[in-house]
């Protein structure tokens, strides 16, 4: 019995033709360059109109998880410093998370294939299942009423409160940061990234970096970072 597996679906791209899981493996082994991998095409092929099958919700969610891991890896790769000696530890971690998922889960996927084959082999025999003729069977053993209270009790105990520590309630607005950076550059033409963020939490620091990158992209500022992980000098180009 051929079970269409989401992980075995064919992928047809310029850089790669073959099953989806092989592509993931090759990406992890760095034999397919993530830079060259057109993610949009891959996503359309796996989940869009060109998908080989209309996956059920759970399979589709699984594909979304795997594709987002790939997207995360690629994003980190694109944002990383070219020629950097040390690989970004976060990127390594993301890569290992994807690998860990694939490796830890792969045996169960293969076991599922085994089950599917097995079901095919075992589909032939039929069982008799005719109820026993004759008198009704004797009554079942009596139960104790306290078992009822015992069974209901645990349902009335409050569940542990879900942890929300992984969520952030802090909101940082990129447009506001962009305005702040523009104002600063307008006043002094030259600011230090470290001074701009001060003691701000990591999220705001990251958003400020995005704001600086955005200004550089628009040609409104120039960024200089003489030392890796050092301060970034932001200079207005006066382009506007």
């Amino acid at each position: 019995m051929a079970v269409p597996s989401a992980l075995q679906q064919p992928v047809d791209l310029d850089v790669f033709q073959g099953p989806f899981d092989l592509l993931l493996t090759l990406v992890l082994r760095e034999e397919v360059d993530l830079f060259e991998l057109p993610l949009v095409e891959l996503i359309h092929g796996a989940l869009g109109e060109r998908a080989v099958e209309r996956w059920d919700l759970e399979t589709a969610s699984e594909l979304v998880v795997l594709l987002s891991s790939l997207a995360e890896l690629k994003a980190r790769l694109l944002l990383g410093e070219p020629g950097e000696a040390e690989p970004d530890p976060d990127a390594v971690e993301a890569r290992e998370r994807l690998a860990a998922r694939l490796i830890a889960y792969a045996p169960f996927q293969r076991a599922a294939e085994w089950l599917a084959e097995r079901a095919g082999e075992c589909a032939g025999p039929r069982y008799r299942r005719v109820p026993l003729p004759g008198m009704p069977p004797p009554a079942p053993a009596p139960e104790s009423p306290s078992s009822l209270a015992g069974a209901l009790g645990p349902l009335l105990v409050a569940p542990p409160a879900p942890s929300l520590t992984h969520l952030t309630s802090r909101r940082v607005h990129l447009p506001a940061l962009l305005d702040r950076l523009r104002d600063a550059l307008h006043r002094v033409r030259h600011v230090s990234f470290d001074e701009m963020v001060g003691d701000a939490p990591p999220l705001e620091e990251a958003m400020m970096l995005l704001a600086a990158l955005e200004l550089a992209r628009r040609g409104e500022a120039r960024l200089d970072q003489p030392v890796a992980f050092g301060d970034i000098a932001i200079t207005a180009t006066g382009g506007r």
């Binding site: 004797p138 209270a149 009790g153 349902l155």
Partner: protein, 194 residues
Amino acid sequence: MSDLPREVEALLFLSPEPLSLATLCDLTRAQEAEVRAALDALSHRHGPGTGLEVAEIAGGHTLRTRADLHEVCDRLRERPPDDRLSPAALETLAVVAYLEPVSRPDISRLRGVSADATVSSLVERGLLEEAGRPDGGGAMRYRTSRAFQERFGLRGPGDLPPLETFELSGPEADRVRERLTEGGHLATGPASDA
């Protein structure tokens, strides 16, 4: 042994009713004479030295246990049924017993897992029964049956041991608490909260 006797054997084995010659011919797509020959071969195979026999009764043919083995067969019939209550069944019975009448969605919400399959099986086993829909429509509600009360040694519905804790909060939980208190299952002391 050609395939026809094998096919006839499988059919006699599976069918709870005797099968007529005509039905056997129809099912095996064979001629009457061939089916007769197959039945003869089977009678021979299931001879007195075996536990089964091919018998012709009520205008049909059937496979059955040999009469001299009735003693061991009766032991199988008299064996107490393996009718133990699974944890899921017990939990569902407890929810219904304390809150009856109660609908499947209500049971599922309190248990945190779907109760549909469990409720159906308990109705089939005669431990739960339908208690009608609420006025104005809605989901079918269930209550415990006489057989349930007998099995648990209860004098009637509501004759249940009191509950000790109630920690849930929220509007849904408040309704549950109210019903448990009304039924006298929960002490009306100061509300304990989570």
